[in-house]
């Protein structure tokens, strides 16, 4: 993970048709994937080649299974990023597409429809089986899930996308819940069993893909539930496809239309952008990525279970997008990987560390109270002094550590406390996300030219073909020379 996180940020890409965007991030992604693959290949088949220290460390902090899950989260978050980050439509029910993708895999690649017997390039395992079911190769199921999710996106979007901001968010939230309830109670939907209810559908067929035999030799065949390394490659490929598509679509006609809608819906429609169709396409595009993530997840856990598609996943996905940096695919990818890893590995391992360390419950209590005191002091002083936020800044982590120490001892789940604290800190100190889109950083950090002028900035160069003021610094780095008289008090002085 750290390989990805420490990649050098890309040079600011020059927009334009014939200028190639920087290749650093894609190469970083690829390098990280290759390193992880090589390590686990050696670790699995040539165990003596890895020093014990390294093996133990990685086995504790970076197991492969959570990495796979993180990649799946990244796919879904990238899909959500198209809707939220590109087109600016808040979606609180994105897990619905994940669920639909998952159940597509459940329907088309398992023994669920046992009285049917349809086989199409399924895995050898399912092909030779005597029991019935629909067994279509997972590669085709991916396509089917994409199509179904796109369709679902359009069906849901058509009536709801006429709404704006808050209303849209509420409707999508409702939609996410509806899909969950439908699948959860789907064992008796008007007398039909469509989802096995809360038991879920399992096992889902394996993929036909390359894998390794016991000696580590390369073979082609059915990837079993424990061929985690093959699945890792499979997920890396899928993530790469979603990444690639998100990046490319952004630079084209549709991507521009999405951004335009995000910026100013009315002006966009006046410039010939059909609002409904463009919004629907962003919804459909995101839904396809969500569907692919759904199928990937079904492959990951070899099954589909409704409990995996609850509302908190929607929020987690949204947190990934916001944390990483809305609109920036690399930021979102990293945000997704960090949060998924924290959720699956970081926090549980930290908890067991605390439990084993023999620290006292009282230490946690004292720290938590002290931190709370700092926060309260910060909030109270904030009303008067500018330096007071520092107290809050220190207080929040101290409280969190204290509560974590306390909770870990009592064996209480505290991951949402951490997420909440992280989001609060992010919103206070870095609203634009870890690796923000250049545009978003601009709007949050610097006043626009007209805003600056409204503040009284002295910049009158309205007629460009007349002699221009030497204002090179205006364009350097997008900064604006703000000399607001209103702020410097010059106005009052006169």
């Amino acid at each position: 993970m750290s390989d990805i996180a420490t990649v050098v940020p890309p040079t600011p890409s020059r927009r334009g048709v014939n200028i190639k965007p920087g290749l650093r991030w894609p190469l970083g992604f690829l390098t990280a994937a290759v390193i992880i693959f090589l390590y686990y290949y050696l670790d699995t088949y040539f165990r003596p080649a890895i020093p014990d220290v390294l093996h133990n460390f990685v086995a504790t902090w970076l197991p492969l299974l959570p990495i796979n899950e993180a990649l799946i989260y990244a796919m879904a978050a990238l899909g959500l990023n198209v809707v939220v980050g590109y087109a600016g439509l808040l979606d609180l029910g994105f897990v619905a597409f994940w669920a639909i993708g998952g159940y597509t895999a459940g329907w088309l690649a398992s023994g669920f429809f046992f009285n049917q017997d349809i086989r199409f390039f399924g895995s050898a395992f399912t092909l030779n089986q005597a029991t019935g079911g629909v067994h279509i190769t997972v590669w085709l199921v991916l396509v089917a899930a994409g199509l179904l999710c796109a369709l679902a996106g359009v069906i849901i979007g058509a009536p709801t996308l006429r709404l704006r901001s808050d209303y849209l968010a509420l409707v999508t939230l409702g939609f996410g819940e509806i899909i969950y309830e439908v699948f959860y109670n789907g064992d008796n939907l008007f007398g039909q069993n469509v989802s096995n209810g809360n038991r879920g559908i399992s096992p889902v067929d394996s993929i036909r893909f390359f894998k390794f035999d016991n000696t580590g030799a390369f073979t082609w065949g059915d990837v079993g539930p424990f061929d985690v390394l093959s699945k890792f490659v499979f997920f890396v490929i899928l993530t790469a496809i979603v990444l690639f598509a998100s990046l490319r679509i952004r630079e084209g006609r549709l991507g521009r239309a999405w951004l335009a809608i995000r910026e100013d819906e009315l002006a966009a429609s006046m410039m010939g952008v059909p609002l409904m169709r463009t919004k629907l396409s962003s919804y459909a595009f995101g839904a396809v990525a969500g569907g692919i993530a759904g199928v990937a997840f079904a492959v990951h856990v070899s099954g589909v279970f409704p409990d995996r598609f609850r509302f908190d996943i929607s929020i987690l996905l949204l947190a990934m997008v916001v944390l990483g940096g809305m609109g920036n695919v690399w930021g979102v990818t990293i945000g997704a990987i960090i949060l998924a890893w924290t959720n699956s590995t970081g926090l549980p391992k930290a908890q067991s560390l605390i439990t084993d360390s023999g620290s006292k419950e009282e230490v946690g209590t004292i720290l938590a109270l002290a931190g709370l005191g700092l926060i309260i002091a910060g909030v109270v002083l904030f009303l008067r002094r500018r330096t007071a936020p520092l107290l809050t800044f220190i207080g929040v982590p101290v409280t969190v550590i204290g509560v974590v120490l306390f909770a870990a001892k009592r064996d209480v789940s505290f991951q949402f406390l951490i997420f909440g604290a992280v989001l609060i800190i992010m919103m206070l100190f870095r609203r634009e996300g870890l690796i923000p889109e250049a545009r978003t950083r601009l709007v949050l950090r610097e006043p626009g030219r007209t805003e600056a002028e409204a503040l009284g900035a002295d910049m009158v160069d309205l007629a460009p073909e007349l002699e221009r003021l030497p204002d090179e610094n205006v364009h350097a780095g997008g900064s604006v020379p703000v000399a607001p008289r209103a702020l410097t008090g010059e106005e009052e002085a006169r």
Binding site: R248, A260, E263, M271, R449, T450, L462, G478
Partner: protein, 268 residues
């Protein structure tokens, strides 16, 4: 562009008995109006006269209570705004409405949305056709930015452009629709007299080189009198006068609308 090549007698855009109602309020009351092909005409009137409402009605933003809008010979009444825009009615906004966090070039390219054809898969795979299309769009955008005089700042975010440049960018963006009719809503608002003077030249140049018919809403009388071939005056949603600059200047109802009855006495 094909509309512009029709005979001189045809109107580029014709509004017939246009009426816009907001609840009980009649904002535009049965206004009949046309923009001659290749002409520059102005719409003036005191604040609240219904000028911008009239604009919004023409561009499909408001539903008409009555009346008909013809673009050339095509009835565009009740069409969706993006369709009307696609057919060649472009506009700018009274309070600049650019896409602030997109570059000048991207702003212009957004308006080419309707002309470009590449779909989702073409864009992802980057087919030769899509590349060519994007290259042409890029060149055309730069050409338009050069035309309005801000070619050097094509890579700059719209929000970082100076006020005057933003106004120009709005015009460039509108022109990217390849319109036959260009509607400018108070284009010289916030400009000083010298800039306004330059702007009137600019409007003529746009009309001549881009072969568009222009309708202006304008407050600055010096601009209106200099640039317009015909002026229409609205007051409280009704058309009260129409004619050349000289006629309007001496029209009693216009003076009354602007200055009130007593003002007319003093003015006379």
């Amino acid at each position: 562009m094909s509309h512009a090549l029709q005979t001189e007698t045809t109107a580029a855009l014709k509004a017939d008995g246009l009426m816009v109602r907001f609840g009980g309020l009649i904002a535009v009351n049965r206004v009949t109006f046309d923009i001659p092909v290749g002409g520059i005409v102005s719409l003036i009137g005191p604040n609240g006269a219904g000028k911008t409402t009239f604009f919004n009605a023409l561009t499909g933003l408001f539903e008409l209570a009555e009346g008909q809008v013809l673009l050339g010979n095509k009835d565009i009444t009740g069409m969706a705004p993006h369709k009307i825009a696609g057919l060649g009615v472009a506009r700018t906004f009274q309070n600049i409405r650019l896409f602030g966090l997109m570059t000048a070039e991207e702003n212009v390219k957004v308006a080419m949305h309707g002309h470009l054809k590449s779909g989702v898969f073409g864009t992802i795979i980057r087919t030769p056709r899509q590349r060519r299309e994007e290259r042409i769009a890029h060149d055309e955008a730069l050409e338009l930015l050069d035309f309005v005089g801000i070619g050097k700042t094509w890579d700059e975010y719209a929000r970082n452009l100076s006020y005057g440049d933003q106004r120009r960018l709005e015009v460039a963006r509108a022109l990217a629709l390849k319109p036959s009719v260009l509607l400018l809503d108070e284009p010289t608002a916030g400009m000083n007299p010298r800039e306004s003077a330059i702007f009137t030249e600019f409007v003529h140049r746009v009309r001549d080189e881009k072969k568009v018919s222009v309708l202006l809403i304008e407050h600055d009388m010096s601009v209106v009198m200099r640039v317009s071939e015909r002026i229409t005056v609205l007051d409280r949603g009704e058309k009260i006068a129409e004619g050349g600059p000289a006629d309007i200047r001496s029209d009693e109802r216009v003076i009354e609308a602007y200055l009130g009855k007593s003002g007319m006495e003093h003015g006379a």
